[in-house]
């Protein structure tokens, strides 16, 4: 999307053609198309929002329904640019775009889900590394990517963006599939402090692994299981889970509305995070297994 598109300044209401992201008359920051993005491919849908306190959306997402030799699959990616790095918004977008491309290509070619996910994470890592002009201050991002087919849920991640499995059957427990690459998580793991204490600590959100030129060689975490029964795979940035880390709590929020549409459930989760403070950027991607007859053309998308 071009930055030269004519826009009306929300503050002084003058039509402007900004050379950068500010109004040429009053200096106000102009809304970016990335401030709020919605994507909806029915069986996979997502929303990404700037939140209430940040000046730009450094999260990015991408999703698609893709054909595989054994039937359709829904794939989704959520990335959260590391805000203390340079150009985190570009890092997240590049990672989300490249990961989706490689993931969809791999699935179409008949790769196993985990194989396609790992290849996608590596390609995303290379893309983010290529953005670096100064190795000492390189763009960086987290990544969580998921695949759902009629039989399998598979997830790959690096950093502290999360995946949750929310079974449709209330009798089955909802659960967190990922473990954060964060200082809080590592401190809790070695027993220095409890999970709750770590979450409260000043360094709770310091990520320990990420994609980027200044990161260690990539070793993405993966998890896969047979999805006996129906359910929803939730991928999200910490802008959501900060306010509700509990899987059951998230399932209740996602299913509270009357609509069965995933896009509506994603909107409900976003509304909850904004109502809770919206301190950070918020990105949510929800996917279900596509029915075997699912139309798999024209449903690829990414932010914006």
């Amino acid at each position: 999307m071009s930055a030269e598109t004519s826009q009306t300044c929300p503050r002084c209401e003058v039509a402007v053609e900004p050379a950068d992201r500010y109004c040429e008359v009053c200096g106000a920051r102009l809304p970016s198309p990335r401030d709020h993005v919605e994507l909806d491919a029915a069986v996979v849908a997502g929303v990404s929002d700037i939140g209430k306190h940040h000046q730009r959306n450094e999260d990015a997402m991408s999703l698609a329904v893709t054909r595989t030799p054994t039937g359709p699959a829904s794939v989704g990616v959520v990335c959260d640019g590391v805000s203390t790095s340079i150009r985190p918004d570009e890092a997240a977008q590049a990672a989300a775009d490249v990961a989706l491309q490689v993931l969809a290509d791999g699935m179409r070619a008949g790769a196993a889900a985990l194989e396609a996910l790992t290849a996608a994470a590596r390609a995303a890592d290379s893309a983010v590394r290529a953005l670096a002009t100064d190795p000492a201050n390189a763009p960086a991002t987290t990544l969580v990517a998921g695949v759902m087919t009629g039989t399998t849920v598979a997830v790959c991640w690096i950093g502290d963006s999360r995946a949750y499995w929310l079974p449709a059957d209330d009798e089955q427990p909802a659960r967190l599939l990922t473990h954060d690459d964060s200082l809080a998580s590592e401190l809790a793991a070695v027993g220095v402090m409890s999970e709750a204490e770590a979450a409260e600590s000043h360094h709770a959100h310091v990520v320990t692994r990420w994609l980027g030129a200044d990161a260690d060689p990539l070793e993405p975490h993966t998890i896969a299981f047979d999805s006996a029964g129906q359910g929803v795979l939730l991928l999200c940035s910490d802008g959501l889970w900060n306010y509700q880390p509990d899987a059951e709590g998230l399932r209740r929020l996602a299913t509270a509305g009357e609509s069965a549409a995933l896009a509506d459930a994603a909107a409900a989760l976003l509304a909850f995070a904004l109502d809770s403070g919206g301190q950070d950027n918020i990105t949510v991607v929800l996917s279900t297994a596509p029915p075997a007859s699912s139309d798999t053309t024209g449903h690829e998308g990414s932010t914006p």
Binding site: R11, G81, V82
Partner: protein, 444 residues
């Protein structure tokens, strides 16, 4: 053709408390490259203006050293550069070439100029405005891009009015740059500073005439290194913004605020003169904007480096001053270390000026208080150069608190050196540019 490349780095804390309107930043401008075709095309002209009023012959060594220094300066001019030597007294006269034009430097013309300089005699008074006007006329006989003059005097501008001098300075502004040198201690710092400030040059004292030759040679070498002419800082501001000030703060403090030339209703140019390759200067820019709401962001100013060319102004580099309003007191009260450092250096300069002015008026208590302030800032910021010069005027009792006593006997030349060089700042060690906030830990 390769255009010159300038980098513009902005150092600031963009976070403002709710309702706050002042946005300040240190802007570092560096001439990364002067461009290839550009450098070949830029033509340069140099005029040396030598005081030959009667006072120059007492002591006799002064005139002899002025002749020698001018010869050395002529030697240092690169072949191919246009040059002239002007002598000044009650009026001004072209010494070389005698027809009031510029000669192109080569072995023959330099030889002729040195010969003319060797016969220089001193007589008459001092009317510096006349000298500047003649230099201007001579410069305008050619369309050179880089025009630089050195002005040497030993006395006060006694033979014309302040208005006459001011009018001459105004006529020369934008035509050429001028470094001013006072030899001995009978000249007035404030007078030469008016000229050097308006003509984007330096002012300094050469207490001993024997030091003139080395100083002139250094000035010519610095001038010969300049390759990009007519460079300005262009400041764009949003509607309803007040520009509080634009100052150069390194290598020296020079207030450019009043030198603004409006370009549009929202943009104005502040002249910076000519630049050499690799040269870097710091500017302190401060604007007052209309406050936004909490969590709103706006562009408070855009600082561009522009060069005036026949085809119009060309932008060579750009930086942004951002304002973001926040409720987070920790973020809004953080002061950029660069802004804090230069605010201190500007106060140091002002304290020296105030202290010396009070001393001249015989107000000992104000002089000791303000020079004491200067000693404390120089001490705290590690500006040893200024601390040393201050110690030649005051006895320092406690540098940390700035407790000082005026010396019983101050050498005039030391006091004038403190005055002329009070503008020199210590350059700050830079942090990472924007975003300047937050721990350097990967946090998302």
């Amino acid at each position: 053709m390769n255009a010159p490349e300038f980098t513009v780095e902005v150092f600031q804390n963009p976070y403002l408390a709710s309702g706050a309107r002042e946005v300040s930043a240190i802007v570092t401008v560096t001439a990364e490259s002067v461009g290839t075709a550009q450098a070949a095309a830029a033509s340069a002209a140099e005029i040396i203006i030598v005081d030959c009023s009667g006072s120059m012959s007492a002591p006799a060594a002064k005139l002899a050293q002025a002749r020698h220094a001018t010869s050395v300066a002529v030697d240092a001019i690169h072949d191919g550069t246009a040059f002239a030597v002007v002598v000044g007294a009650n009026d001004a006269r072209p010494l070389y070439p005698v027809d009031g034009t510029l000669a192109v430097a080569d072995a023959r013309t330099k030889d002729e100029a040195r010969h003319a300089v060797s016969r220089l005699q001193a007589a008459g008074g001092t009317a510096i405005g006349q000298w500047l006007r003649l230099a201007r006329e001579i410069f305008l006989t050619r369309p050179d891009e880089l025009r630089h003059a050195i002005l040497l005097t030993d006395g006060q501008n006694a033979h014309e009015t302040l208005d006459e001098l001011a009018a001459a300075i105004a006529a020369c502004t934008g035509v050429f740059s001028c470094d001013c040198r006072g030899v001995g201690t009978d000249w007035e710092v404030a007078e030469l500073r008016k000229i050097s400030a308006a003509l984007l040059g330096t002012v300094d004292i050469v207490p001993d005439p024997a030091g003139l030759a080395a100083d002139f040679e250094a000035l010519i070498n610095a001038s010969m290194a300049k390759e990009v002419a007519g460079v300005s800082l262009r400041l764009w501001t949003p509607q309803h913004t007040v520009v509080r000030f634009v100052k150069q703060v390194a290598p020296t403090v020079e207030d450019l605020t009043s030198m603004r030339r409006d370009v549009t209703a929202q943009a104005g140019d502040y002249p910076t003169g000519a630049w050499s390759a690799g040269e870097s200067r710091d500017y302190h820019v401060s604007v007052a904007v209309q406050p936004g709401g909490v969590d709103e962001e706006m562009l408070a100013a855009r600082v561009s480096v522009v060069q005036d060319l026949a085809a119009g102004a060309q932008t060579l580099g750009q930086g942004q001053l951002i304002a973001i309003w926040t409720d987070d007191v920790e973020m809004s009260t953080r002061i950029s270390p660069e802004v804090a450092h230069y605010t201190g250096q500007e106060k140091l300069h002002q304290a020296i000026q105030d202290g010396l002015a009070a001393k001249r008026q015989g107000d000992v208590s104000t002089a000791e208080r303000r020079l004491g302030d200067a000693v404390a800032i120089a001490h705290e910021s590690g500006n040893q150069e200024q601390a040393d010069r201050l110690a030649s005027v005051v006895d320092v009792i406690d540098p940390a608190t700035g407790t000082v006593r005026l010396k019983n006997k101050v050498v005039d030349a030391d006091e004038m050196a403190l005055d002329t060089r009070s503008t020199k700042t210590l350059r700050v060690r830079k942090q990472q540019p924007l975003p300047p906030t937050g721990p350097q830990e990967p946090e998302d």
